[in-house]
């Protein structure tokens, strides 16, 4: 019963996402129009030289001589069929490139989300229990510091300390080059390379979720049901503690869902610093190669990823908190 309700809710949310995706496509199209030169110029540039007749022929094959509204429709049709264009720099379709680079980014993101939400919930509730004692003050100070540190700089300083000075972790990449590890050795190798990028990104989000969790637990402490439970002759029963945690976690989860887009953006700088071969590094490379089509493709896929994650969070939220009305 609850499941079918959630399912229809998910389907309706999915249909609501359709206009968002269409607007994003239109935005991409607008950015393409704003960029200097058109596809024919790019092609001609790649080819080295071109006659005016050849350029005109190229424009008509791409439909660039059509009215702008028609061009937009053509572009939308193209994107909806997941044809994101062709990257001449890499010599392969943009969609294939993105799919190949998707999983390193997902691995990094899931690790960071799990670490920052998990540890943030623990640290935040610990700080709230030790309110205004030295433990709370220490955690507050560390979160203020971590919250102000630029992510890329933190990554570079970790490289200086743990890779260059101490030699504990590799400086870049996802796997040891030319080692060709298989099975468990490969997993261990990737995990070893994952440590520094994951720690770098986690620090910032850990600070955010710790602050949020602390505030959220303190808010729950002032609620009637906790105040009553504390006045019971047995003191604070374990049951109340569980309810506090469960209720206090909800805003943190919402925030984690909202922050997925920011996390994807943050992965651009972290992947650049650590040469982690994901979407972020691909975005950086496309920036240097002036491969706008690829950059737009990454932007589109990332936005779709955010929409999907937000949807999952909303549906998960409705399962966690039965009070939410699935209208």
């Amino acid at each position: 019963m609850a499941l079918t309700k959630s399912l229809t809710y998910a389907l309706r949310r999915l249909s609501q996402a359709v206009p968002t995706v269409l607007v994003i496509i239109a935005l991409n199209f607008l950015l393409l129009q704003l960029a200097p030169g058109d596809a024919a110029d790019v092609l001609a540039g790649e080819a080295g030289s071109a006659t005016p007749e050849f350029m005109a022929q190229l424009r008509s094959t791409f439909g660039l001589d059509q009215p702008i509204a028609l061009q937009l429709l053509l572009y939308m049709k193209q994107i909806v069929t997941f044809d994101l264009g062709y990257s001449f720099r890499h010599g392969m379709p943009v969609a294939d490139l993105i799919v190949a680079r998707l999983w390193p980014t997902l691995l990094l993101m899931i690790t960071v989300l799990a670490l920052s939400v998990g540890m943030g919930v623990l640290l935040g509730s610990f700080a709230a229990r030790k309110l205004n004692r030295w433990q709370d003050n220490l955690i507050s100070m560390l979160t203020v510091l971590a919250y102000a540190t630029p992510v890329f700089w933190a990554g570079l300083m970790l490289i200086v300390l743990f890779s260059i000075k101490l030699g504990w972790f590799p400086t870049s990449g996802m796997q040891q080059v030319a080692a060709f590890h298989e099975g468990a050795a490969k997993v261990r190798d990737i995990a070893h390379h994952l440590v520094l990028p994951a720690v770098t990104l986690t620090m910032f989000y850990l600070a955010l979720y710790t602050r949020l969790m602390r505030a959220s637990v303190l808010e729950q402490f002032s609620m009637d049901y906790v105040v009553t439970a504390r006045d019971l002759p047995l003191g604070e029963p374990l049951g109340a503690r569980r309810h506090v945690l469960r209720n206090a976690v909800l805003p943190v989860l919402t925030m984690a869902g909202v922050q997925v887009g920011a996390l994807l953006g943050g992965s651009v700088v972290v992947e650049t610093v650590f040469a982690w071969p994901g979407l972020g590094l691909l975005a950086y490379e496309s920036l240097f190669a002036r491969d706008l089509n690829l950059l737009l493709g990454i932007f589109f896929v990332s936005t779709c990823l955010v929409i999907v994650v937000n949807l999952l969070v909303d549906v998960g939220y409705s399962l966690l908190d039965p009070r939410i009305d699935l209208r």
């Binding site: 968002t20 607007v23 994003i24 950015l31 704003l34 960029a35 203020v144 510091l145 919250y147 102000a148 540190t149 630029p150 992510v151 890329f152 700089w153 570079l156 300083m157 490289i159 200086v160 260059i164 505030a215 303190l218 808010e219 002032s222 909202v258 887009g261 920011a262 994807l264 953006g265 943050g266 651009v268 700088v269 650049t272 610093v273 975005a283 950086y284 920036l287 240097f288 706008l292 950059l295 737009l296 990454i298 932007f299 990332s302 936005t303 955010v306 929409i307 937000n310």
Partner: protein, 275 residues
């Protein structure tokens, strides 16, 4: 007002933040006096470590790092403040209209705001600067475009509650125009929340700016902290201090602004102190 100042002063971290922030402002104001001339100028041997001939040493081209950091403060603060002012203006307008008029306009404007909140904002900023060309104007534009949504949401909420308060109802029944009610009666009452959120937005804007210039998306003619770190990254193994110094500058500035913002929040919105 007086009690607000008192509350701010009693908030120790906020006072530390304010002192730090004033130091950064002073440094950026005095950049031209302490280091006259172009910060891109080559002054001596490259790769000199800090605390030698030059306070923070020199970079891989022999440019004085201390001069770079001081001039970088100018760029960073300028971009942070101007982008925030623009984003605040846009956010207040959209949020105010949505919250005051409600109904279909509210629905439309909030869908628009949600759209901007769905987009991965840093990627969008990268795209905008890449398309418009790396100049200080396009960086400011890109940061403003990605940072107004939280302000719009906040102002919408404030306007919605104000709209139903008795004093606004009284204005309506007196036949006062919408513009006058909004500008003279509702806006002044929401100003404290706008100031607090705006001050925190400057910190975020600075982080975005440094990230963009780290990736090479900054005006080639202005020194900025992210640019120094991005350029120094290639020689991290041999000269780590080139990256270290501007990063500390970013950290201290952003932390100072955050602390001042928190202090302002306590001073201006005493009702919210419970958290």
């Amino acid at each position: 007002m007086k009690s607000g100042v008192l509350r701010f002063i009693r908030h120790k971290p906020a006072v530390c933040g304010l002192v730090l922030l004033l130091a950064v402002l002073l440094a950026s104001a005095l950049a031209g006096v302490v280091y006259p001339g172009d910060p891109f100028r080559i002054v001596g041997k490259p790769f000199q470590p800090p605390l030698g001939e030059y306070l923070l040493g020199t970079d891989m081209l022999g440019r004085d790092l201390a001069a770079g950091v001081l001039y970088g403060a100018r760029t960073t603060l300028l971009v942070g403040v101007v982008a925030t002012v623009i984003a605040t203006a846009v956010g207040v307008t959209i949020g105010g209209l949505a919250g005051y008029f409600g109904g279909r306009l509210d629905n439309l404007l909030m869908r628009f705001t949600e759209l901007f909140q769905t987009i991965p904002f840093f990627l969008f900023a990268i795209l905008l600067v890449a398309v418009l060309g790396a100049s200080i104007g396009s960086v400011i534009f890109a940061i403003s475009v990605v940072s107004w949504p939280p302000m719009a949401r906040l102002v919408r909420g404030e306007f919605m509650t104000m709209r139903n308060r008795e004093f606004v109802q009284a204005c309506v029944s007196m036949g006062m125009g919408h513009t006058r009610i909004i500008l003279h009666h509702i806006l002044p009452n929401t100003l404290s929340s706008i100031i607090v959120t705006g001050s925190l937005m400057v910190a975020t804007a600075i982080l975005i700016e440094s990230g963009l210039s780290f990736l090479g998306l900054s005006d080639a003619n202005t020194m900025s902290w992210g640019y120094i770190i991005g350029a120094g990254r290639t020689v991290l193994r041999t000269a780590w201090w080139i990256c270290a110094a501007p990063g500390v500058a970013i950290l201290l500035t952003v932390m100072a602004i955050n602390l001042v913002g928190d202090g302002l929040n306590d001073a201006l919105n005493p009702r919210l102190r419970s958290l």
